[in-house]
């Protein structure tokens, strides 16, 4: 029996990146697409709680069952699992191919990665793919080549105890990419500013802009891998505990729990 592959993204149903991912996925299994009906970049792990969500079957990809959803990328995965594919076992969820990097801390803001993470929380092996070219005219050949090989591996193997991979692909011709590199998330920061301006009615507004930077370039990080011509693959999870800070904070426990507290 062919494996069942759920495809989603955050750039919406008409982005070239999801078309590229569907083309690869259909070579490897039965494909069902549930994706947002509008671009959802920067949605992070947002879910829709205070309003209803619409779900409509659409004919976008030849012979592929596809639904557009009015919610966030995470909503798409929840609806896919609980409504569209209810009672079916999903073998793999793939999200993307995102137009732009989700390496380093960008995983936190990314709708693409949050959709993939949601599937992994539900116990589904899951991969988010991002290509470092923002252009909708981007050439996806190299990205498709590596997505195919990684998905092929993922269908037959576990990711250790992880259920989630964050895959980023550098903007290089396929033959110049040096291969994949398993790595960790680099520490990075956005150097941000807000453009301040006035709308046609004279009311002030702010618009977020900024550039991404990393302080250090350690060779076991995703940023190093991308800067050096590799596809970065970061096994990821959803445990945000800062484990090494638990012991030092026992001191706070004593401070707060003391009946002779300082306040």
């Amino acid at each position: 029996m062919k494996p069942l592959i759920l495809v989603t993204n955050d750039d919406g149903m008409f982005a070239p990146g999801i078309k590229a991912l569907v083309e690869v996925a259909r070579e490897l299994g039965e494909v069902v697409v549930v994706a947002p009906n509008s671009p959802q970049s920067g949605q992070g792990h947002a879910i829709t709680l205070t309003e209803p969500i619409r779900l409509n079957e659409v004919d976008v990809f030849d012979d592929i069952v596809a639904y557009e959803c009015s919610g966030t990328p995470v909503d798409c995965v929840k609806l896919a699992k609980h409504v569209v594919l209810k009672d079916r076992n999903v073998d793999l969820c793939v999200s993307g191919i995102n137009h732009g990097s989700n390496a380093s801390i960008n995983i936190i803001y990314s709708g693409t990665m949050s959709a993939a993470m949601e599937a992994s929380i539900e116990g589904i092996k899951s991969i988010g793919f991002s290509y470092l070219d923002y252009s909708f005219e981007a050439d996806f050949e190299g990205a498709k080549h590596y997505a195919r090989k990684i998905m092929k591996y993922a269908l037959d193997n576990q990711f250790g105890d992880s259920k989630l991979l964050n895959v980023n692909i550098p903007v290089l011709p396929k033959e110049e990419i040096k291969g994949i590199k398993i790595c960790r998330q680099a520490e990075g920061t956005w150097r941000e500013e807000f453009v301040e301006s006035k709308d046609p009615r004279g009311q002030k507004y702010y618009w977020l802009t900024g550039s991404f930077g990393v302080e250090t370039q350690e060779p076991d990080t995703d940023i190093w891998a991308l800067d050096n011509g590799y596809v970065s693959v970061v096994p990821s999870g959803h445990d945000l505990t800062f484990h090494s800070a638990i012991d030092p904070l026992k001191d706070m426990e004593s401070f707060v729990n003391s009946p002779n507290g300082h306040l």
Copy 2:
């Protein structure tokens, strides 16, 4: 000089929880509030990229500088740092007090915690507070007592190498709470379903609902602490790498990088 404390939340400027937090914060330092102008529960780490954001000074809390923001909780923190408090050193950011739990994996979906996390990414010591009572008539006395002691400690001490605490407070009278407990994020899952119905025009919609559950009850987790009458304090970060899966995945590196690849 009094410490500078930034207060934000995800329930909006008129939620009782932020009022309680402002009341505590003003005892400890100079307070500036930047909070959403509408409820933003479940917004996760969403940021506003495709539209302008409004920021207006409002007179909500006596003598306290406060701004309402049209964006997400994370937008609020970014605007606070880069516009409202530009060039000033923020000593502590506190987010909440949220109406409802952000323990276990709820940290991932939470606007309250994402706002606090954003501040920590910017290098600001930061704490998200959540009270397990959803009611807007909730009694915040116990929550305020512990928020005060934890903030007092935080102003004078580091959290190990972490910059972020996820604090959840059980629904108990102040004198029945046993104290705080430093712990790790419990593994948990939402058992979800979608209510399916039709709108007045006869169009189908879905509305997310569900209940939260944990599989195991290990005594070093936040869920155990809350179930046993403690305030849970989880030092947190933003590294989503699943470190122990890096070695097992070297096998994928060999598979994909082999020139005799299987595809």
